[in-house]
Amino acid sequence: MEVNVLAFGIAKDIFGGSSVSVSLPDDANTVQLKQALEEHFPRLKLIASYLVAVNNEYADEDLLLSTRDEIAIIPPVSGG
């Protein structure tokens, strides 16, 4: 399946845009999404941690994803 992933903060620079489309096996979970993203965008892994939100909720690692989900990648922000 194809899922659409919204990018926040530095993830916009890493993805090169405010969203990106990712191909995943049907019934993929959050860990598989992260692996696929980090494979395409190695800089994402270098950040060390980022929040995956599915339908405006924190996504646990084993949450199953569907094409209708609104998925957002929210990296940490340091400025003040």
Binding site: F8, G9, I10, I47, A48, S49, N56, I74, S78, G80
Partner: protein
């Protein structure tokens, strides 16, 4: 109404905001850490609303490039302590409250003592080390932390570590971001920030502080607010009800060794020092004071360029990125002598060429 509370009449007219509630604000003790882009508006509104005791902790001085968003400081304040300048100014706005300047850099050695004097901590800092330190100190002392952070057009706000009714605690910073590689996330001096975003996010932090103290409204506890000043879209992400982390002690603060501009200049004259610019290519093209140049995130790939026996002085515009660089060198190449230029190029007197 108490006659000296006439100034609060327009907030005491709010449903549920009576004299008792204004008394809760008067009795509250709030510590704002960081008197920069977020701390200025947060402190300004907490002062105006009548929070009785406000501490402002910042070791830094006002520099010219702060003025586009740090609205408590005048042009004539450049070079003065942020904490004491802010307190002095806010005291005139509201003589009826107590303002306390803490002109210290928070470390694992002093933060618990500092935090113990307050009920609520507002994280208005600008670097990850400070954010983790404040978060952990909040968890260890059992105090809520009102977190705010900004970059370019995007901001985040959350309320960490609120006591739930059943004795558990709401999530904290480490539940959302267990660790961060600071060198991979640019700060505002690299990527820029729109000043109005600092105002919006700082005011939202102050708003959550007032809500906690007065017991009003729905807190951003167990939630993370993201706000985009470019698209004007904001969303509230649910994190969960309770923390899954266990934080028992502070990580020891790992300080980058620094060198003053005067000492560095002397060392350069005697040939003992190599300068290393860690700013972006664009910044380097605009101002170049000589030496090597690697952007912060390129250093790890260029460790072979550094030799033992020399002293490398890393510099950036303010001293923040160069401190990250020195910590990275300490970690990856501990045999190389690496120092960070204190205050960055801002302290390197302009017009003096090498």
């Amino acid at each position: 109404m108490r006659e000296d509370w006439l100034r609060y009449s327009c907030q005491m007219a709010l449903p549920g905001f009576d004299e008792r509630v204004q008394g809760l604000l008067q009795a509250a003790r709030v510590l704002i850490i960081g008197a920069g882009g977020l701390g200025c508006p947060a402190a300004q509104y907490l002062t105006a609303s009548g929070v009785g005791t406000i501490g402002i902790a910042d070791y830094d001085v006002v520099s010219e490039s702060n003025l586009h968003r740090q609205i408590l400081y005048d042009q004539s304040d450049i070079g003065l302590s942020k904490a004491s300048t802010a307190c002095h100014r806010l005291q005139k706005q509201n003589p009826g409250i107590k303002l306390i300047a803490h002109q210290v850099k928070i470390t694992s050695l002093n933060i618990i003592q500092l935090v113990n004097n307050y009920d609520i901590i507002v994280d208005c800092t600008d670097n990850f080390d400070a954010r983790y330190l404040i978060n952990d100190a909040g968890v260890i002392t059992g105090k809520p932390v009102i977190y705010g952070a900004i970059y370019q057009f995007e901001g985040q706000v959350a309320v960490w570590n609120v006591a739930n009714e059943d004795g558990t605690w709401s999530p904290n910073y480490r539940d959302v971001f267990p660790q961060v590689n600071a060198a991979q996330v640019p700060n505002c001096s690299v990527g820029g920030v729109i000043p109005t975003l600092a105002g919006i996010i700082g005011c939202i932090q102050a708003n959550e502080v007032i809500k906690i103290i007065t017991g009003t409204g729905d807190l951003l506890a167990g939630k993370l607010l993201t706000f985009d000043a470019y698209s004007m879209q904001s969303r509230v992400i649910k994190i969960g009800l309770t923390t899954k982390t266990i934080i028992k002690e502070l990580n020891t603060t790992n300080e980058a060794l620094t060198i003053t501009a005067d000492e560095a200049r002397k060392g350069l004259a005697s040939g003992n020092i190599v300068l290393v610019d860690v700013r972006t290519d664009q910044e380097h093209d605009e101002i170049n004071i000589g030496g090597l140049h690697f952007e912060l995130d390129e250093i790890a790939d260029n460790l072979g360029e550094f030799s033992e026996g020399k002293t490398y002085v890393f510099y950036c515009s303010s001293g923040k990125r160069s401190a990250e660089a020195v910590k990275l060198m300490l970690d990856k190449a501990p045999n190389i002598t690496a120092l960070s230029l204190e205050g960055g190029l801002g302290k390197w007197k302009p017009g003096v060429k090498l």
